[in-house]
């Protein structure tokens, strides 16, 4: 058993970054995730020699990640919604240049400056590309402090494996809440996958390495795009992760990710106490989206209720997955409001049982 | 006049005929050819045999098309390597 600690989500994530062998963190303070930079500033360099730098902006941070990841190191940044918007240009370049790195979004309510309260309003931005051009991030959605820690290591491993940026899409509540967390052992710095493509100085025994996203010849650019799409397809086939809860006999399915899924577990329990056969599907990877499980279950259930802390974003992917074979309803709260289990159950009863 | 004998070799296919070497040459050794290269540029040629190997043409050439040779006296090794480019700056003033 690993070391047990009571930690904030943001701190667990920062601790996990050190333990996952992260070489460098570049970031800029923004609520509700500033603890990550604070924790790393305090802890990291003494323990592993990890580089921690407070940049002048999120724009600079993400481009520092580009440089450090291009140099073959494990690099990460974290921010919250407005800051992640600022990073989108850099993320597009990173995806195009196929640089492995970890980007953490502790989602807060928007649009605009919005609120500092938790939200899931950045689902589209995280899963559909976010910046310009056709690209995908691997998106992991933690729903506990434990997963805030575990997904850092998983995220780095997936990033290195596929040479692709990985995003942890958390929210302000997961970032700020304190829970028990079991920490994994210290991993070697920089991971174990060799990176012969990195710019480390051209030695006589190899050609020069170039990190770029520029391919001016349209045929060449299409080729790059096709290669990226093939990679995303492979990720879609191999890396889907989700959790199911009491779906075996379920007549109705709740679905939610991250914080929403924690609440929905309670809804399932409350509903079952009242005799409703409800189960829960929690997508863990938002890209690749677990379409197959939704498709399979769609013919066995009477309806799916998708619950999110936004105006309805993941629900589009759920609807695409079930291909019209069952009714998919949506319940959401916005602006930093966290829905209660009772109000979700009320809505469930209203929409599915009372036929309103 | 010239105390030093120099010569240049030009990669005419890479020359873009910008003429910067022509104005940089203190001896009036070079000019643009009437002929054109595969790119369609009039390329530089030597029109006089009075090159001193001062390197000015090569230094201002944006396309690195010029190689410069200079025959010097006993201490050949002083100018035989590229690393002595700085050392021979004094040639520019003659």
């Amino acid at each position: 058993m690993g070391e047990l600690r009571l930690m904030k989500g943001n701190e667990a994530l920062a601790e996990a970054a050190i333990r996952a062998g992260c070489d460098a963190y570049f970031g800029y303070p923004i609520t509700p995730q500033s603890e990550v930079l604070e924790y790393l500033s305090r802890e990291a360099s003494n323990r592993t020699g990890m580089i921690v730098l407070q940049a002048e902006s999120e724009v600079a941070s993400i481009n520092m990640i580009y440089g450090a990841a291009g140099a073959g190191k494990r690099a990460m940044t974290s921010s919250s919604s407005p800051g992640i918007s600022l990073m989108q240009e850099g993320i597009s370049y990173i995806a195009a240049a196929e640089l492995p790195c970890l980007i953490v979004n502790v989602n807060r309510g928007g649009p605009g400056l919005g609120t500092i309260q938790p939200s899931q309003g950045d689902y589209f931005q995280a899963t559909k590309g976010g910046g310009h051009g056709d690209y995908k991030l691997i998106v992991l959605a933690p729903s506990s402090v434990q997963e805030m820690a575990d997904f850092v290591r998983l995220g780095f491993d997936l990033a290195d494996k596929y040479r692709n940026p990985v995003m942890i899409l958390a929210d302000g509540a997961i970032g700020q809440m304190m829970e028990k967390v079991e920490l994994f052992e210290q991993q070697p710095k920089g991971g174990t996958i060799p990176k012969p493509w990195a710019t480390t100085g051209k030695t006589k025994d190899r050609e020069r390495n170039i990190i770029t996203s520029l391919h001016i010849d349209p045929r060449e650019m299409e080729k790059i795009n096709l290669r990226l799409q093939a990679k995303y397809k492979e990720i879609q086939e191999k890396e889907v992760r989700y959790e199911t809860f009491k779906v075996e006999d379920a007549e109705y399915i709740l679905t939610a990710f991250g914080l929403g899924a924690r609440i929905c577990k309670k809804v399932v329990e409350l509903g079952r106490e009242k005799g409703y056969k409800i189960g829960l599907i929690r997508p863990i990877t938002l890209f690749p989206f677990p379409s197959k499980i939704f498709k399979e279950i769609s013919t066995k259930v009477k309806g799916i209720l998708d619950v999110e802390m936004n105006a309805g974003q993941m629900v589009e992917d759920v609807r695409l997955s079930v291909e019209g074979k069952t009714k998919v309803e949506f319940y959401g709260r916005m602006g930093g409001i966290i829905p209660t289990p009772e109000e979700i159950l009320d809505y469930f009863e209203k929409i599915f049982l009372k036929g309103e | 006049m010239a105390k030093v004998k120099g010569d240049i070799v030009v990669d005419i296919e890479k020359c873009k005929g910008c003429e910067l070497c022509v104005v940089a040459c203190p001896q009036g050794t070079i000019a643009l050819s009437d002929k054109i290269n595969k790119k369609g540029y009039h390329y530089m040629v030597k029109i006089k045999d009075n090159c001193t190997g001062c390197e000015n043409c090569a230094l201002v050439c944006p396309d690195a098309v010029i190689t410069v040779y200079r025959k010097s006296g006993k201490k050949k090794e002083k100018v035989a390597t590229i690393s002595n480019v700085q050392k021979d700056m004094t040639l520019e003033v003659n």
Partner: protein, 270 residues
Amino acid sequence: MDESIVRTEEQEFLEEDICVAENLVYKKPKTLTDIDLHYCPGCGHGVVHRLLMEVVEEMDIQDKVIGVAPVGCAVFAYNYMDIDMQEAAHGRATAVATGIIRVLPDKLVFTYQGDGDLAAIGTAETLHTCNRGENILIVFINNAVYGMTSGQMAPTTLPGMVTTTSPFGRDVKTMGYPLKMTDLVAQLPGTYYVTRQAVNNASNVRKTKKAIQKSFQYLQQKKGTCFIEVVSNCPSNWKMTPVEANKFVEEKLIPFYPLGDLKVPKEELK
């Protein structure tokens, strides 16, 4: 007069073939690839590319150097320099370089940026990188115009200068004043060596090379940020011949952007 030259007079060498290896004094550096440069005839970029690669070859630091290319005409700089390079987003080269040097502190990292990249969209990154004193060389090519997008006004365009977006001349009242980034960064404690050079004639080319050599030596000694502005030309967008353009550099640009060191290492001031 150089000693060796006087001596050569005594030799009977006039009939000999001069173009032999032992007489070689100047050759394209091997660290410059054989790919034809895409730049317009007479463009200063080619000269600065070559100088950088000459220094890399002469100092034998090819395995230590990592370059960062900008967005602008020099976006393909990595095609010509036979070293490891990264292509940065517009204006972000110094942030990318920061990322590299922080994780590879023993390497010699330089950025190569134009006036739009460094002095407009990348102003914040440039100033903060210099202010942190990152141990990198910033090569700043100032030709007072946006080249790649074909001749729009740059932050460094001279007052009254005609560009496609200042067709009646740059009116400083509405378009702002030319930004002297080099003067700005010289004020920051993080910079170690700040100089303004040009490549419009052989003498200036030699000085620019000297500045590059010094900078890489300072980087080896981990002295902090070195910043070289190179006042350059843009014959195509200035609508001049290369010879006229270099004359314009001499007569108009250099008086506004005077050449010389703006910040010299303290220990070298005696």
